[in-house]
Assembly symmetry: C2
Homo-oligomer: 390 residues x 2
């Protein structure tokens, strides 16, 4: 695999995913298409599980809810973290047991809580009193974990304050949950998506360990620490291999939560991103002026048709073309729509072959997470990202 | 209509859209739903047409491609600006004549150019040599207009350099088009979406007038000036009424392009935004800490399910609830998904009723443009924005 980013460390030992490459090479695609390799999902699940040890993996379904992926993960013994009623329904349809599915969104419609309860879901997230009240009414007696804000992120895609509450409120919500007849079992947090190195977890875990201890001291007999996601994918900058990464994280967890009964982890991106490649096409290569240093490369896929995570140029995908042996030059990369916000990489241009032209195929590597369902319904009349699972 | 933004001038005479309000009041919705009033579309078309006079309106289909809207606009005599093959197909299906549909995307798939040509489309946009070459091969002899970059925007949603080329290149492309056997008829530009006052067009038109003259001086007998979109909708800040706005713009155009044979305008937002209201629901109201000044209000709709234009807090929609008579307080507003980027208004919080709670209905006004098709396919398991046309 060729890495084109000027600053890419590229020292992560990427093995060419030959089954994926063979499939892609053997087929033509008349629109942008995500090809997912189930065997790579299996390999990644096993690697993460080997590192995570006794922790339960709850796959974050939102990363890629292709039914075949869910079914494969059910077969492998994975549990699931669902963001919505539809994701819960999907998991159950694909054979997951209700006891293995958590409703991890802290913002739930009351009727969806009731529906989930009726389906047998017994573990819910919350970060506020009003949410606990909704859960108590519509899913009486279930287990809840309280999500905390941890503000020491070093992630590439750091999280806002949207989810979680502060320490004092979290401790208070444990009491509220009890008063409401719920079973407060523990805490969750999120280190931030795409946390590239295991050691970046340490400050977050330190903070969480302190809050955990405070809860114990206040008389709460907690049993669950949900460490959320953050498991990285390779986008050109060095990351730890999945097994080693997961093992390091769990070692740090065990040290800070001695004897905790149950550990949950919610990899999403880290499970499926590297199992997918998007096959795209160059629509146009142009300059705006004879004096322009950069070319503009327009693809048939953009921010509104699958590459939403290029917002703010946060996630830098790796591109691969058949002309990568030719001389390279800097390009601004944009999507095909009549929308000026549909620009992928402009502040930090990409190096692409000088010979690139309309009609050329572009492979966008490691795009198995947060692409297919982020795609718009019909933006500018363009169809949603197609998905093929092999 | 109540306007809640602290800085809202709100002096634009908004007439309560009673047919829309009656429909919304009489129905319940179990998911976020955009309700579009065709009569308001008609009213707006007539107002814009009255102001634009001899200019042809090419409705920018991407703003809202609901088939009923296209059919209504066909009946009213509108022409259409299409961004893709699918949008062209939609217009033709709804009764538009091929001669009244322009293919305005400067980034087109070669096979789509050929398809459009076979459907009878004869007017294409371009801003680069490679695009002209594609058009010459797949749609020989058609009329083309060259899009320019105009960098003096005062719009609320200014455009990037994604579309258009500079003056020298534009003049050169007229020659290139001729050499390729195409018919270069004129220029297009875009002042930027949501250009609130007609006088903001003047600097752009001055620049374009100069380029137009240079082309004439170089021997090009141009017949078309396409002034693009930019026609505003009311989002809380004062705008000119549509007829007066359009008339002022056309007066400025006539003064700078004396005797031009054909003027095209491409309103999208300005045609349909005010004809729609989204019915949403509060999922949760919470604080992150006892000390927080702001509440967080989570809706069942967010950036990935229809409100994409809240990116960077650019477009500030107006919210309306049944509790608007109660005391107000500042709120951060976010969508329902497990995605930290799904926050609508945080830097500039909104004033919402202190009594607001989960289950309350929220009307989001003037959301008829750039909402329905921007909605994601199934982000986090949430369904796309539903659309009802009345």
């Amino acid at each position: 695999m060729t890495v084109h980013f000027a600053d890419a460390a590229a020292s992560f030992p990427v093995v060419a995913p030959s089954r994926l490459d063979s499939f892609v090479a053997a087929h033509s695609f008349d629109k942008p298409t995500l090809v997912m390799d189930l065997d790579l999902v299996s390999r990644q699940y096993r690697a993460l599980k080997a590192g995570l040890g006794r922790a339960d993996i709850h796959y974050a379904v939102k990363a890629n809810p292709a039914p075949q992926i869910i079914a494969r993960l059910v077969d492998l013994g994975s549990h699931f973290d669902a963001a919505s009623r539809a994701e819960i329904a999907l998991c159950l349809e694909q054979g997951a047991e209700p006891r293995d599915v958590s409703f991890g969104n802290t913002i739930k419609r009351a009727s969806d809580i009731a529906w989930a309860f009726n389906q047998g879901i017994r573990l819910f997230a919350a970060d506020s009193e009003e949410e606990l009240e909704k859960i108590a009414v519509h899913a009486p007696g279930v287990s809840v974990y309280i999500r905390l804000i941890v503000e020491v992120s070093q992630a590439d895609w750091p999280l806002s304050r949207k989810f979680g509450c502060d320490r004092d409120m979290a401790l208070q919500l444990l009491d509220t949950a009890k008063t409401l007849g719920l079973n407060p079992v523990g805490f969750s947090f999120h280190v931030g998506s795409q946390t590239r190195r295991a050691e970046m977890w340490a400050p977050n875990l330190d903070v969480m360990g302190g809050i955990w201890q405070a809860a114990q001291d206040a008389g709460h007999d907690l049993s669950l620490i949900n460490i959320g996601g953050g498991f990285p994918a390779f986008y050109g900058e060095e990351i730890d291999a999945p097994k080693a990464y997961a093992a390091k994280v769990i070692d740090m967890v065990e040290a800070r939560f001695p004897g905790v009964a149950k550990i949950m982890a919610e990899p999403g991106r880290g499970m499926v991103a590297e199992a997918g490649v998007i096959v795209a096409e160059v629509m146009l290569v142009s300059r705006k002026s004879e004096r322009d240093m950069h070319r503009w490369v327009y693809l048939d896929i953009g921010r509104f048709s699958g590459l939403a995570e290029t917002e703010g140029e946060a996630i830098r995908y790796q591109f691969e073309t058949a002309r990568d042996g030719d001389a390279m030059g800097p390009c601004i990369v944009a999507g095909p729509s009549c929308d000026s916000a549909d620009v992928l990489y402009e502040k930090r241009p990409m190096q692409l072959p000088m010979t690139l032209r309309a009609g050329d195929r572009v492979l966008i590597r490691n795009t198995g997470a947060y692409t297919s369902t982020y795609s718009s319904v019909c933006f500018n009349g363009f169809p949603p990202l197609a998905v093929v699972v092999i």
